[in-house]
């Protein structure tokens, strides 16, 4: 099934991705964010907070945003 995935980690792209039916949001995030921990991200499905074991549905909108991002001094 197809869902909209908005990854605000790094470049911040938004794209449709295929996921297997029955995939939980926790599993999906682990697959998409290599080496990242779910607790380091703000995860929203259809703009709402959901539990880890929420099972993704066709057409869901998943947003993943890091909660800690390094700022810098302007060059």
């Amino acid at each position: 099934m197809r869902i909209l995935f908005i990854n605000n980690d790094g470049g911040g792209y938004a794209d449709y991705v295929e996921v297997a039916a029955g995939t939980t949001v926790d599993k999906f995030v682990s697959q998409q964010i290599a080496g990242g921990k779910a607790e380091d991200y703000l995860i929203r499905v259809n703009r709402q907070p959901v539990p880890r074991e929420y099972v993704l549905q066709e057409g869901d909108r998943v947003t993943v945003t890091p909660t800690k991002i390094e700022g810098a001094v302007a060059a």
């Binding site: 470049g11 929203r44 703009r47 890091p66 991002i69 390094e70 700022g71 810098a72 001094v73 302007a74």
Partner: protein, 394 residues
């Protein structure tokens, strides 16, 4: 005047954001149109060159054909640049513009995430407030993130968004720095920069606010306007007093920071130097840094470079005195000769000055000089054992 967003106002703001994003997309098309137009103009000119070149070749006009070749070369160079610019403009990733409902949902989500959304209609500013931020024990207060809707997509706008300290606890070193990554209300987004740009381009207003908050709630000590360690001011390396940024002086000798009371500058190179690293030249008594101190090549004593260059070391001034004293002891009965032929004593009396014009210390060199200037064949050689017995001059 700020307003909490009511339902109707929410729709108006969502519509304004959507219209602004639509205008940005249109301006991109306009830009691409300009690039393609430039390329088309060059191609038209190239076609003209081609027609004229054909005519010149047919009629054997060699010189004219040569000029056209130069013109064609110039056009090809221009085509190279214009085609690349056009390609870049056309290949810019197309961002889907959300409809008004999508933007409205973004605003509603931002309202929930941040416990309220504010709108300043006169400036078209949309704002959210963060919780109070404390980083590694340093309290910074809460901040308002303000987004200028009218500036969306405008590269000429100085600051698309600002981070305003509502309860400022700025650094002691620079009161414009209210957060390690915020200076003069401008956030340096660092790793979040690209994601913020993409979120705004796509009208994902809530994602933008969340990304800014993620930067504010994190501390990157390797790239801060003022580090948290220096937030309350740096301490003078000497007296320990806390210093503001304007009262901090860096010693180029020991690489430490000092207050104005504990630092000065080198009298030679003007480099900022702490009082501990400054040395007093024993000759000129000026304060100089270690880099401007050197040693006398004769006696090895420390003195400043200028005194060395000007040969002002006391040991160099004492040497002639020592030679004059030893010669004078060996020639007590010899009257030193003046260049004019008169003795020093006679010279002194003639002057009537009442003082010896040629003091004893100068007698030996004067005698030597007079001996050299004396007549050749009448000169009587002087031997050491003959001193005092043979006149030096006829």
């Amino acid at each position: 005047m700020e307003n909490a967003l009511s339902g109707r106002r929410l729709w108006q703001v969502a519509g304004a954001i959507r219209d602004r994003l639509h205008a940005v997309r249109l301006s991109r098309f306009h830009q691409a149109q300009g690039q393609i137009q430039g390329l088309a103009s060059d191609l038209a000119e190239l076609e003209s060159v081609r027609r004229r070149l054909s005519l010149c070749v047919a009629r054997g006009w060699i010189a004219a054909a040569g000029s056209l070749m130069d013109e064609a070369t110039r056009l090809f160079r221009s085509l190279n640049y214009t085609s690349k610019d056009a390609e870049l403009a056309l290949n810019k990733p197309e961002v889907q513009i959300p409809n008004v409902r999508d933007v409205l949902e973004e605003l509603l989500q931002a309202e929930e995430e941040f416990e309220g959304l504010r709108y300043y209609p006169e400036d078209q500013i949309l704002a959210v407030k963060t919780d109070a931020i404390e980083l590694e024990g340093t309290y910074l207060g809460d901040f308002e993130v303000q987004l200028h809707i009218a500036a969306l997509g405008d590269p000429n706008f100085r600051s698309l968004y600002r981070v305003v300290a509502l309860d400022p606890h700025p650094s002691s070193r620079n009161d414009a720095v209210t957060h390690p990554h915020v200076s003069e209300e401008r956030l340096c987004a660092g790793d979040a920069g690209a994601a913020i740009d993409t979120a705004l381009a796509g009208g994902r207003i809530c994602d933008f606010f969340i990304l800014v908050r993620s930067v504010l709630t994190n501390y990157n000590r390797d790239s801060a306007y003022v580090t948290l360690e220096d937030w309350d001011g740096a301490a003078c390396h000497d007296c320990g007093s806390m210093m503001g940024e304007d009262d901090t002086y860096y010693c180029t000798s020991c690489d430490n920071d000092f207050c104005g009371e504990c630092s000065s500058c080198c009298s030679r190179c003007d480099e900022s130097t702490c009082l501990g690293c400054l040395e007093q030249c024993p000759v000129c008594e000026d304060s100089v840094c270690g880099g401007c101190m050197t040693r006398c090549p004769e006696c090895g004593e420390r003195l400043c470079r200028r005194c060395r260059e000007e040969a002002r070391c006391p040991c160099l001034e004492e040497e002639p005195k020592n030679e004059e004293v030893s010669d004078d002891n060996d020639s007590n009965s010899i009257e030193p000769a003046c260049p004019s032929g008169r003795s020093a004593a006679e010279g002194g009396e003639a002057d009537g000055a009442g003082s010896n014009r040629y003091p004893d210390e100068a007698a030996a060199p004067v005698a030597a000089q007079a001996a050299e200037e004396g007549a050749g064949e009448d000169r009587t050689s002087v031997h050491a054992d003959g001193l005092g017995q043979t006149p030096l001059l006829p």
